[in-house]
């Protein structure tokens, strides 16, 4: 299991979701991906995308106007 980071700063939703989705497709079950976003909408959208696609949000951190959403990869179809 590995940890990865994805820079989604300055992208407006749904682009952070799309970038996270496309990256997660390349990862293994149990890997974690920290998505760094500046669009506050990502705080709703990435967890919503995770819920419907079988992944788990491990944490959401706020830091100087940015969000770091860490996702644990579930089943990849």
């Amino acid at each position: 299991m590995s940890h990865y980071e994805l820079d989604a700063r300055r992208l407006l939703c749904p682009m952070p979701v799309i970038r996270a989705q496309d990256r997660i497709k390349t990862l293994e079950r149990g890997d974690t991906l920290a998505v760094v976003c500046s669009d506050p909408g990502a705080e709703n959208d990435i967890p919503a995308w995770c819920r419907i696609n079988g992944h788990r949000v491990v944490s959401v951190e706020h830091s100087e106007g940015e969000l770091i959403i860490t996702v644990e990869v579930g089943d990849i179809d």
Partner: protein, 347 residues
């Protein structure tokens, strides 16, 4: 054992595609959603750039619909391939710069490719005959099916009874008797069906889910193309057309002026790509200069920037102008009097 058939549903985030998907789910079909992001999609987050809108709930309606229905959603970035659809639509534009018929054909074609790659059986959409003047007419619905290459793999559950049988109906994967025959611009049948399913709080954006149906947005896009003598565009252009006050005092340059803190913060992210200006000692907007501006142009732009600052009544306002190399200079200017601010400058 009968093979469970799989359909992909084009989910816009509005009610019709939500209903169409539910109809098929209730028939035991495995449905997953697909949502295409062109860059022009109307999303709450775009409005949420503005600080005054931040109290409003922020949600992506396509994700919300998928969650309500309990289906997976695949969001596909089609920003690049969509350019050809917008720049050169075979069937032309609607009332504004909306190439709705080409757009629908394009999206269904993308879905055709997706079902081939993902081993799905057919495609569904929430189209209703006569609902939209361009893409959802009796005459144009077969055009979408044909030109997308979907042909009889494209099922419209909400108006299927008004259309020829599709493959899923002929093969018995879907029971045609339990599909619908909705037509016309009235939303009453859909609202009644939504009530039957217990759906509420669904999105019903006026003018659909695309900025290209908006006159003001379309005017800005046309202005951009005209000024650049080219219809080429990038996603950043698409975003910036949604934000701020746009003023073109001269044909060779345009000002993008933040209207409040949220927009100023958003424009901050573009500072390195544009000559930009802002007030020094008093509150005022961040302004991006798009185009080729000479010293005289920048002087006029500084006066206009001062005009939109809290120093608009002062004799002189200090404006910091930063060039593309990041070098800043301070200009003391007189705010442009209202009488010299021409209405035709506003894009």
């Amino acid at each position: 054992m009968t093979k469970q058939r799989k359909a992909v549903s084009l989910i816009s985030g509005g009610l019709d595609s939500m209903l169409a998907t539910k109809v098929l789910l209730d028939q035991g079909v495995h449905v997953e959603g697909i949502n295409f992001y062109t860059g022009f999609c109307v999303e709450g987050h775009t409005h949420a750039i503005r600080k005054k809108d931040k109290a409003k709930p922020k949600r992506n309606n396509a994700l919300w619909v998928a969650e309500q229905l309990g289906i997976k959603l695949h969001i596909v970035d089609v920003v690049e391939p969509y350019k050809e659809v917008l720049v050169n639509p075979k069937h032309g534009y609607g009332q504004n710069m909306n190439p709705c018929l080409d757009c629908k054909g394009f999206m269904v074609k993308q879905a055709v490719n997706w079902i081939k790659e993902n081993d799905f059986d057919f495609i569904i959409t929430g189209e209703v005959m006569g609902q939209r003047p361009m893409s959802q007419r009796k005459a144009t619905m077969p055009v979408v099916a044909r030109e997308s290459g979907a042909n009889d793999l494209l099922l419209r559950p909400l108006c299927a009874k008004l259309l020829p049988e599709t493959l899923p109906e002929r093969e018995g994967w879907v029971n045609r008797d339990e599909l619908y025959g909705f037509s016309g611009r009235s939303r009453k049948p859909q609202i009644a069906l939504a009530k039957e399913y217990g759906f509420d709080d669904y999105a019903q954006p006026a003018g659909g889910c695309c900025f290209l149906t908006d006159k003001n947005y379309s005017d800005r896009l046309v202005d951009l193309w005209k000024a650049r003598h080219s219809r080429a565009y990038e996603l950043d252009d698409v975003m910036l057309l949604k934000v701020g006050r746009h003023i073109r005092p001269r044909p060779n340059f345009k000002m993008i002026i933040g209207r409040e803190e949220g927009e100023n913060n958003f424009l901050e992210g573009y500072r390195k790509q544009f000559i930009h200006m802002r007030t020094v000692d008093i509150n005022g907007p961040l302004v991006l200069i798009d185009g080729e501006a000479n010293a005289d142009d920048l002087d006029l732009a500084a006066q206009i920037t001062a005009r939109f600052s809290q120093g608009k009544m002062l004799e002189k306002v200090n404006i910091e102008v930063t060039n593309l190399e990041g070098v800043s200079t301070c200009h003391s200017v007189t705010p442009l009097p209202p009488s010299q601010m021409l209405e035709e400058w506003v894009v």
